[in-house]
Symmetry: C2
Subunit: 396 residues, 2 copies
Amino acid sequence: MSEVRGGPVLPDRGLSFALLARDGQARRGRLATAHGIVETPAFMPVGTAATVKAMTPEAVAQTGAQIVLGNTYHLMLRPGADRIRRLGGLRKFMNWQGPVLTDSGGFQVMSLADLRKVTEEGVTFRSHLDGAKHLLSPESAVGIQHDLDSTITMQLDECVAYPAPEAEAERAMELSLRWAARCKAAFRPRAGYGLFGIVQGGVNPTLRHRSAAGLVEIGFDGYALGGLAVGEGLELRNLVLDATVPHLPEDRPRYLMGVGKPVDLVESVARGVDMFDCVLPTRSGRTSQAFTRAGPMNLRNARFADDAEPLDPDCACPACRNYGRAYLHHLVKAKEILGSMLLTWHNLTYYQDLMRDMRQAIQAGRFASFRRAFLDSPAAGRETEAAGSSGDGPEN
Amino acid sequence: MSEVRGGPVLPDRGLSFALLARDGQARRGRLATAHGIVETPAFMPVGTAATVKAMTPEAVAQTGAQIVLGNTYHLMLRPGADRIRRLGGLRKFMNWQGPVLTDSGGFQVMSLADLRKVTEEGVTFRSHLDGAKHLLSPESAVGIQHDLDSTITMQLDECVAYPAPEAEAERAMELSLRWAARCKAAFRPRAGYGLFGIVQGGVNPTLRHRSAAGLVEIGFDGYALGGLAVGEGLELRNLVLDATVPHLPEDRPRYLMGVGKPVDLVESVARGVDMFDCVLPTRSGRTSQAFTRAGPMNLRNARFADDAEPLDPDCACPACRNYGRAYLHHLVKAKEILGSMLLTWHNLTYYQDLMRDMRQAIQAGRFASFRRAFLDSPAAGRETEAAGSSGDGPEN
């Protein structure tokens, strides 16, 4: 964990991923990139529009995050990929010292853009900002992410809604596979940079298997599971994970896109997932929701008005170290920006602490007991005050 | 400037104020309080609702601020003075390590509350939040500030609108004087805590003189100039300062309430003012306005979209050190919270740098040339992009 940035030797092309320990299906790994190390399992805070909302990048790093995610769809529309390229790339633009992963824009085109149309060539759509028409093709998605100087580029894929007819899930999965090959061809390999393929196939294990096999044949630096966290629920998602992960190469990181709640992270790490992203900790932070070791809390609740206790006594973040719940309650009620800042800071710290604890448990060969203890704890509470979606919808 | 907090010996009752240097009318002083030193001339960031908006207190301290202002009106309504007392006082509640000055609530009752009625007893009004009826009397204003554990308590005064008929200005001034005496009687002196009187009298030099003389006779730890920055303009305000300040004791700090733009600070320091507060740097920071050595800038302006330069190359704040104007422009356009955070941070740093430069100039006996150079610089620009009011309206 004390690895110096850039310490490990990077391959001439692509990313280096070392498996440090296994414990059941759970894996402890280390991803070396051109822009720093990522200890896995890792959670990537979402920095949609070149900012992790309500946080300075210094604060993001202080939570323990080593990599952040940017959204190609948002960035291509505003401020524009060309502009970010001219300004030195996304990392320089937003002053993030570590690696960045960018999605391909495909998912958000589906959820945000107007008049979208999927063809073999790609997706045409109109910007939700100004109505301007755009085409996102495998080649342009890779090109935009190249302009952003993304450390990890995601292939363009088509993500179908849940539930989808099997034929529709199959069609989209096959299209995504053909797009994957075109992305691979368009991607310019560089030392410490990588391209990830995305497994699709809805909730059908056979389709997922075929997708995984097809991607592995093309060959990627990492493999993502897409099209999940769209409403299928934890049990079905776990089934898909169980059916898919064994078909992915051992020596490459696995990234479950858009997931999730704390319990989702634990259950997915148990199934061999290495990387996550989700808007939940940041979005919750702006809507008065806190994740704590005592379970989720809604700071708007009047029961906190006179509560001088720290939000989570076992958390070392500034929100917990320097203030009482009564103050956070006050900030939320008064709609003060500092409320969003502190709760976001806390939630991201909570997520990073959870990942750190999982890494340590795997390394020590006690992940099974860690998982049991977590599932028995209030922190696992699935139906909670802080409910909200665990989906990977856009961070708005 | 390297004084250790609490170093100077505090009087058994009240505040200690040392005049370190004079240069013309400008003064370089040091105010010792129970909660730390304030080097003067000083600018106090406004922390209306127990938070300097969009800033952590650590960040506020990093700008160089040594004292912040809280608003009694806002705090008595939400979260309530009793509650803050139970939670350890305002400084503990909001985690501000230095001294706090609170206004009396009078000004904001006049500008924000509904159905207000001024009598000899005090002001009755209805909360703008929930319509509840309240009485603010000299005694309750002091009592509330005692509950807040304010380092510096302000007397309750009546601030008339500008322009006001002379008879109205005189009536309010006389009432404020009677209230001043009642506040003095109600205030419990403690070592390192102080009570300030407020000079009223509109723009009439004779009334201002009478007000000052009356307050001095009662005797306060410091003297504020109220009822200014309400639309009278720089020239008239300067005339009032010239007519009032000579009647205030040399050995007590003078505080010009609700002022102002950078040029206002320089011109008022030249007239012997020691302390200021204003929402301008914080409010401007949330509305895309930046104060810089090259003059005010509106970061929303499209001319910054590709501008990789730092906001103010001579500023050491994080906004200037870590980002380009293009990024700040992007944050403002995308309505990102980080835009408000960084621009507020910068503006407060700019204000504190200006105060520091003035302190150094006075100490070195070169304030006249500093003032001339400032007035000749773009930073003095009075009619600017960043216009907006320099009034002391509530921070909302």
